[in-house]
């Protein structure tokens, strides 16, 4: 896994890989990374918490990401988020207690041409309305979990 020659400047690359492999970055995972890259644990923790991409908590089996980029925002992304929040009783950034579903927001997914967009289990859905996201949420939750 750490074939970046254990170079300290490859920390972000290593964290990317670790998250891909384990789903999230456990504190127990960060310590050995720090040791192998010869970095103080505080710096590894600092980097892991600085970037939005890294999650220190496990994610749900299914995920829903509402894009809150400007193009999506002016076309009603806030409403979509509210719909999903109500339907799941979660707030953005939270995972349900049974670890079935994580709801989050994104800055901009670069799919502004089909705004507003929501990503369910890595599948991007364009031109969403409160009705379509509610339907999509149900199909997403009843589908087998993404690998």
């Amino acid at each position: 896994m750490k074939r970046h020659q254990y170079r300290p400047d490859a920390l972000i690359e290593v964290l990317h890989q670790a998250q891909e492999l384990y789903g999230y970055l456990e504190p127990e995972l960060l310590l050995p990374i720090a040791r192998r890259l010869r970095l103080p644990p505080s710096q590894v923790y600092g980097v892991a918490t600085f970037y939005h991409f890294f999650s220190l908590e496990p994610q749900g089996l299914h995920t829903g990401v509402v894009c809150m980029g400007t193009a999506c925002y002016v076309q009603g992304a806030a409403q979509l988020l509210r719909t999903l929040e109500q339907a799941t009783h979660l707030r953005a950034g939270e995972t349900s207690r049974d670890r079935q579903f994580s709801l989050s927001t994104a800055r901009c997914l670069g799919a502004c041409g089909v705004a507003p967009v929501v990503v369910f289990d890595q599948q991007l859905e364009g031109r969403q309305t409160p009705e379509t996201v509610r339907d999509r949420l149900h199909t997403c939750l009843s589908a087998p979990p993404a690998p």
């Binding site: 400047d9 920390l11 972000i12 502004c112 705004a115």
Partner: protein, 567 residues
């Protein structure tokens, strides 16, 4: 020993079906459409006559998934996999008619052809003429003569939607790496910089710093380890030009970087790509591997003493990393915190070495400038803003997508002629440019030409190229608060004006939004904007008040209304 000599292209097929397999179209089953089209071509026994290729962005993203058929150039929107057979059928019919004689690419007998040039082509039933259309209603042909396309001037996007981004052969066939070859063979580094300087190219990342000047500064630094960095951390929400360029034509960026490295004397490059763009990342990986195999990157490029290696760095979701000093920290594997300038990265950047940082679009302009000359480029655009600019036209606009227009075109032409206004005809209220660092331009100022200075005078900026149209129903106070929330969350927290100021501004704007504001709040809002603008460390904080200031300037009545109403 040019790379073109290495591959003999197969004889061209008379028909070519190009499917967009990037961006929004990909997420709408672009790949399945391509597979189905291939199957339909095989089923019709036309493999020798019709090529199906996956290409980059075709531009009109709001109508995606898009498919375009050569040689007629007919563009089809909202295609589904079920449309594959009806799209291929007329081609088969035409080819059968002409069986025996070699089909000529300039054929004009395609029943799909629609060159009406009118904007009303969207509802044209012409496509039904072939009579072989099975139940799923066929996609509507879109004429390539729509103003959305004809008003464009494509330099950066010249290959987008034309070539397969995953094949270096396609790029080379489109005169790729010719400019690099020319630089290494005929031009001294100083001559390359001179060409870029005379072209008048300015940084396309937003600030518009003259590219030639930046290159000259790095070149002047004592020789030794230098770096070239491509800033592909496209953080502005509502902007996806760089994503599209990287996904549709990655080699163009690599070639621009290699030319820059030759000019400034660097041997190592980094591309810092947003983590949110997995496909751009993958296409770049592919392109890097191919470029190395073809010897256009690596050691002794084109048998010259010039070496240049490029590594990818994947961002991890931090807007501030688009700021160059923060980006450098992030490449070094640290938290993306900006630091005061000077020293500028050109003097002391990555690991303390002189570093040239340019944006994706800037690098994408380099090869055409070298190929066609500085004068050719300088003839496009306005006196102080040469060339073209790519915009992602989005929001309340009928034709949303990626456009490349000459500088100096008016906003009205972009929004009303090319974009054809709002989808439901609601009047336009404002156009937002420059993302969270930019401003809202009121409809009354739509006749302003698009160039760095004019947009600045209006209180906005050129920015990286996001252009979001907002209709009458949009609340400007809410938009200002939306951007402030963005800056508040993205503030890295290093300097206090930005860290604390954005929170205060956000809360003040919340009072306006909820109609709880007092006249004192308005005064405080303005004072605070001024303070954050002038005392923040980096561009993020300095520009954070821009959306508030510009909406205060043009839509002050909305703020006043929020005070007047009792809450």
């Amino acid at each position: 020993m040019t790379p073109t000599a290495l591959h003999q292209p197969p004889p061209p097929k008379p028909y070519r079906i190009r499917c967009c397999t990037v961006g929004g179209c990909l997420s709408a089953h672009g790949l399945a459409i391509k597979t189905q089209l291939e199957a339909a071509v095989t089923a019709a026994g036309l493999e020798d006559q019709v090529a199906v290729v996956g290409v980059g962005c075709l531009g009109l993203c709001s109508q995606g998934p898009l498919v375009q058929i050569d040689p007629s150039g007919d563009l089809y929107g909202h295609v589904t996999p079920a449309h594959a057979a009806p799209l291929v059928a007329p081609l088969a019919a035409t080819l059968r008619l002409r069986s025996g004689s070699a089909p000529s690419p300039s054929s004009s007998s395609s029943p799909l052809r629609l060159r009406s040039g009118s904007a009303s082509s969207s509802s044209s039933p012409l496509r039904l003429r072939s009579g072989t259309v099975p139940p799923p209603s066929p996609p509507l042909p879109r004429s390539p003569t729509l103003p959305f396309f004809t008003r464009q001037h494509r330099i950066v996007l010249e290959n987008s939607g034309q070539i397969d981004p995953e094949r270096i052969e396609d790029y080379i066939a489109a005169r790729g790496y010719e400019a690099l070859h020319r630089c290494l063979r005929d031009l001294e580094p100083a001559a390359v910089i001179d060409t870029i300087t005379r072209s008048g190219l300015r940084g396309r990342g937003g600030a518009g710093y003259p590219t030639g000047l930046k290159w000259a500064t790095v070149a002047k630094m004592p020789s030794g380890q230098k770096y070239v960095v491509c800033n592909a951390d496209e953080g502005d929400p509502g902007a996806y030009m760089d994503r599209s360029v990287l996904e549709s034509d990655p080699h163009r960026v690599l070639e621009g970087m290699a030319i820059a490295a030759y000019a400034v004397g660097a041997s190592q490059g980094y591309i810092y790509v947003r983590g949110e763009y997995p496909l751009a990342n993958r296409h770049l990986q592919t392109a890097l591997g191919q470029a190395k195999r073809y010897g256009v990157l690596g050691s002794q490029i084109f048998d010259s003493p010039f070496d240049f290696r490029v590594d990818l760095r994947i961002g991890a979701g931090a807007f501030v990393c688009g700021e160059e000093t923060a980006l450098i920290a992030s490449i070094e594997g640290k938290r993306g915190l900006p630091r005061p300038r000077p020293p500028y990265p050109a003097e002391s950047g990555l690991w303390g070495c002189p570093t040239l940082i340019n944006n994706v679009e800037t690098f994408a302009n380099i090869a055409p400038i070298i190929r066609n000359g500085a004068d050719w480029f300088a003839a496009i655009g306005t006196e102080h803003s040469r060339g073209t600019k790519v915009f992602s036209l989005t929001g309340h606009v009928q034709n949303a997508g990626l456009i490349e227009v000459p500088m100096g075109i008016t906003l009205r032409e972009i929004v009303e002629v090319m974009g054809q206004g709002t989808p439901d005809g609601t009047p336009i209220k404002a156009v937002q440019t420059g993302g969270p660092s930019g401003g809202c331009i009121p409809a009354a100022a739509l006749d302003t030409p698009v160039d760095y200075e004019s947009l600045k005078d209006l209180g906005s900026i050129m920015g990286s190229g996001g252009m979001i149209v907002m209709d009458e129903h949009t609340s400007m106070v809410e938009v200002a608060q939306f951007f402030m929330e963005f800056c508040m969350e993205e503030s890295c927290g290093k300097c206090i004006p930005c860290r604390a100021g954005t929170v205060q501004l956000y809360q003040l704007l919340g009072k306006f939004k909820d109609h709880r504001a007092t006249p004192r709040d308005l005064a405080q809002l303005e004072a605070l904007c001024d303070m954050v603008q002038h005392t923040s460390l980096c561009g993020l904080g300095q520009a954070a008040p821009n959306p508030v200031l510009s909406t205060l300037r043009y839509f002050r009545n909305e703020y006043l209304a929020a005070i007047a109403a009792p809450g």
